[in-house]
Symmetry: C2
Subunit: 370 residues, 2 copies
Amino acid sequence: MHTVSIELGARHYSIYIGGGLLSQAERYAGFRNRSCRLMTDRNVAGHYLEPVRRMLNLEAVHSLVLPAGESQKTFENTGRVLDWLLETRTPRDGVLLALGGGVVGDLAGFAAAIYLRGIDFVQLPTTLLAQVDSSVGGKTGVNHAQGKNMIGAFHQPRAVITDLDTLKTLPPRELRAGLAEVIKYGMLDGPGFFGWLEQNLDTLLALEPAALAEAVERCCVLKARLVTEDEREAGPRTLLNLGHTFAHAIETHTDYRAWLHGEAVAVGLCMAADLSARLGWMPRPEAERCTQLVARAGLPTRPPKGLEPARWLELMGHDKKIQSGRLRLVLLKSLGTAVVSSDFDDGRLNETLEHFGSPSPVSRLPSPAA
Amino acid sequence: MHTVSIELGARHYSIYIGGGLLSQAERYAGFRNRSCRLMTDRNVAGHYLEPVRRMLNLEAVHSLVLPAGESQKTFENTGRVLDWLLETRTPRDGVLLALGGGVVGDLAGFAAAIYLRGIDFVQLPTTLLAQVDSSVGGKTGVNHAQGKNMIGAFHQPRAVITDLDTLKTLPPRELRAGLAEVIKYGMLDGPGFFGWLEQNLDTLLALEPAALAEAVERCCVLKARLVTEDEREAGPRTLLNLGHTFAHAIETHTDYRAWLHGEAVAVGLCMAADLSARLGWMPRPEAERCTQLVARAGLPTRPPKGLEPARWLELMGHDKKIQSGRLRLVLLKSLGTAVVSSDFDDGRLNETLEHFGSPSPVSRLPSPAA
């Protein structure tokens, strides 16, 4: 088992990474004697609800199973979770466990943040995307028709228990979606990790345990560093949004239904790399390597059809990073050197939007919406 | 003008207390150049919406007027406020101003806490209750059918601008409700302030400016001390809940409609004093002085009819202060010496509940529900 620490003073916690952790009683030792509540979704419930309930000796009423999918991450569903916490008389010293992917984790974390003005929660991420990204760092929240993650809170979990064995039951499409965030970390970390990913991509797709453990740990270490430096995203943590302004526009445009978050991020990474190259900031061959790695992972490199530049700008106009009316984007100077900037030529941005807006003559990848 | 500072490091802020402050341009200087949004209720809007909008040069769409009353403080209405903030494209560096009483302040503060994971907000309290209590300290939240303030967040305002002139337009019933919290501070602070209140109650009811300013400042100073010591209410801040466990039960029982919060607190103070005396902790004559001061302020000293002990215990069973299934109450050893305790005789609590549950033969006060 690997352990990554998030050092945030009174809010410090550990990420435990390894195989079979969900079935190890000692992982639950820190909170099993408190009033536990368990949230998951229907897909995950079929595999892991009963084993985890048994570990915690939970009554049926103390677990909540929601439908699966990003479209469930709503303010209304937050209300349903809060109703359930109240109906089951969850006390202030209770613990809410989030068993599932990013949707379950973000929704449970947000409910835990505002129930009784904040109770403890624990992440049990079962998707690659949640394991490398959304379960770590305390960003919680839900979507709004006008934008992704527009409503939420910073609320750190008390622990993250990452059982890599859960990836064996993950649908391949979800595994690839998680790889998009892994590639993002590669682009942020630099040629070392990025090159490692180029070499080990097939091993990761084959779920080779040692490679998975190394990839998850490297991502968590990088995220831990940025979160520790900047918990509330006033500075360096913003870099973790590489590709995400484009991605959120795609998700909002498609009503959080057709695309997985990671698929939208994949396209966003390609667009951020393209714009960085058009600006003359990143060497074009490096940008091409990013797109190629995304494509090799079986991820889309093009947005859905019908997204005109004007619609892109409207959708991106809701971005949380906007300051004084000016869009800010995470862009690359090179692999491993990212910046948050509003100081870019709008003409180049338009070129990127137009380039990605027109149907690609060479793309042979199936649309994820299909 | 008096200024009370809340020292919370990066979240420090000032409370400005005085007459006519809402019409002083310099009070808005810290944020008038940012994207401001203004929330209020229908009662307050008639008096102060236009003057404040003019000070801030606000377009009509940038202010939101809600119906008045505690029953508006819901999760659903939080959603409406968030919709409005999104529709008007409020940026992350925007400022939400809460012009009104505790309901507007708690609802606006909660919306500000979770919009884009937290934006700045400023309190402009226009009721005595908000000026001495709810606008200070960063507790925000909304009610649930199963309990008062069950959903919320700790989110400090950037400033509190307390214009005492607004009390001139406050309905007398609301003024008295605010006095309940003032009396609470007297009971917590000790014989000095409590005796001052006994002497100055009529002057306060007559809205004498110097007396009002002194009362509001003394309450804010006491609250500032407790909030600074214990922002997230893990210890001494809990004392501010004196009378509130009983009060919240009354409010939940009456569906947040018939009673004002301060009226319920008034009864709660009498019940806390009575129980403290029954336990032999507080001298009975001191408990009587508390009840007498409450009655002199024109506030109820008895709960609504029909609240049986079993129903009391059920309602109080949702209290946020419950630990390991055991009810904790703020009780008094004497005027000025309060404790949070679960170490009391349940028989005495039952006596208090039965005593207050039966119709009082001597009470000649009209029911606030009438």
